[in-house]
């Protein structure tokens, strides 16, 4: 009878230990996956913030160019008419702050995921068990509870941490869904900002070239350099009307390209957020992640934003 009872106890004990081992292994996977997801989310969020900051800069450029053009065209551009531009800059900056807050929250998730709670807890519990065992007044036992106590504490900590990571991921999933919804509803308005900037700068350049105030040959500098063709009069403005019109068209195309790059960056950001949301859902459903495609989109968007930044610097 006693043998039967003992066998059952042994079975229960083994099941118990096996369950904790499985929990421990899953939790370790969750930590690594959570960390990967958090890193990817942080990149996507920073990307989004850079995009909004770029649009705020575009608005500022448009504002200045419009001041110049309004004076040339003799149209009004008073403080009341300028107010929507300031409000637009404020709105874009508040969205950039939102994206940075998203990045910070992903940072917190990354810290939570990278902390090895299981190992820390195991070590601390092991030490405590050894201290308890060493109390002189306690009867000495041949059983050493240290390793079992430590492992158990480590597994419980890992299980708890895994739950916390999933909870954090769920909070971020909700935030990502809301941000994507906002992004999509404002995409058209956002796309028009760099396009408008391009129109304004092209109009100003047209004026400067037509008035022969600038030397526009540099627009073709790369091409002539490639063939080692020196300019006859590199310091003189373009004189004939046909070439002037051609130079203006060239400047327009360059400006249009910038607007196109910005719109493409927006598309990639939108797709990367969609992919990030899908990955969060997979994580919640305990399925594997597919971050490769998402990270490619993030890199694509960032390379567009870097190109815009480079073109801006070249302008200065």
């Amino acid at each position: 009878m006693n043998t039967m009872k003992n066998k059952r106890w042994v079975q229960v004990l083994w099941t118990f230990l096996l369950a904790f081992c499985i929990v421990g292994m899953t939790s370790c996977d969750d930590r690594a996956t959570g960390e990967e997801l958090a890193k990817a989310g942080m990149s996507a969020a920073n990307n989004l913030a850079n995009y909004y900051e770029s649009l705020a800069q575009d608005t500022l450029d448009t504002w200045e160019m419009e001041a110049f053009l309004s004076s040339l065209r003799q149209v009004s551009f008073d403080a009341t008419q300028q107010k929507p531009l300031q409000e637009q800059i404020d709105a874009l900056k508040s969205r950039a702050r939102l994206a940075r807050a998203l990045a910070s929250t992903y940072g917190a998730l990354q810290q939570l995921s990278s902390y090895d709670a299981s190992a820390e807890m195991k070590g601390a519990a092991d030490k405590l068990a050894q201290e308890v065992k060493a109390i002189p007044v306690l009867p000495k036992s041949t059983v050493d509870p240290s390793s079992l106590f430590g492992s158990l504490a480590g597994d419980i900590a890992a299980w708890r941490q895994s739950g916390d990571i999933r909870k954090g991921s769920k909070l971020l999933l909700e935030a990502d869904e809301n941000i994507l919804k906002l992004f999509k509803s404002e995409k058209e308005a956002c796309d028009s900002i760099p396009e408008e900037r391009g129109n304004k700068i092209a109009a100003v350049i047209e004026h400067l070239i037509k008035k022969k105030m600038v030397v526009s040959w540099s627009l073709l500098q790369k091409e002539t350099d490639a063939l080692n063709l020196p300019w006859v009069s590199a310091q003189e403005p373009v004189e004939d009307n046909v070439t002037i019109e051609a130079m203006i068209e060239l400047a327009r195309v360059r400006m249009k390209r910038l607007a196109f790059i910005s719109a493409s960056a927006g598309d990639s950001i939108s797709q990367s957020l969609e992919s990030l949301i899908e990955n969060h859902k997979s994580f919640q459903d305990k399925k594997g992640l597919n971050l490769e495609g998402m990270l490619t989109l993030v890199q694509k968007a960032q390379s567009y934003l870097d190109e815009i930044s480079k073109l801006r610097t070249e302008k200065k």
Binding site: V75, S94, M121, L128, E131, G168, L182, A203
Partner: protein, 111 residues
């Protein structure tokens, strides 16, 4: 989506006038026509800016709420990490206390 359509219509009108302002201005034959062009340009520009701004302003309360929600989410995640670290710290404090207790017992037995 009527809102999007009207925004697009306003944008198309303003961008067309902006891009072709010089051409249209050259085609004007009187001061009256030139003033009419200036007025049309300013109205279409201001209308579009107003419409675009409304898109952003409409979502502004939502943006503010989302920032607060994200700060709360960040606090919750940081708190979870803090709780895990606290348990380790508590175990370390208990270990130190038990060690001290053992030392006192050992000391007491010596006298």
């Amino acid at each position: 989506m009527p809102e999007t359509n009207s925004l697009k219509a306003l944008k198309d009108q303003y961008f067309k006038l902006d891009k072709n302002f010089n051409k249209l201005f050259s085609a004007c034959t009187s001061d009256g026509q030139r003033d009419q062009l200036r007025s049309a340009y300013v109205n279409s520009r201001d209308n579009y800016w107003e419409a675009r701004n409304r898109v952003f302003q409409k979502d502004e309360p939502l943006v503010k709420k989302m920032v607060v929600d994200l700060k709360n989410a960040q606090n919750q995640i940081e708190q979870a990490l803090q709780n895990l670290q606290n348990i380790v710290e508590v175990l370390q404090v208990i270990t130190a206390a038990v060690h001290l207790g053992s030392s006192l017992i050992t000391l007491g037995s010596m006298f």
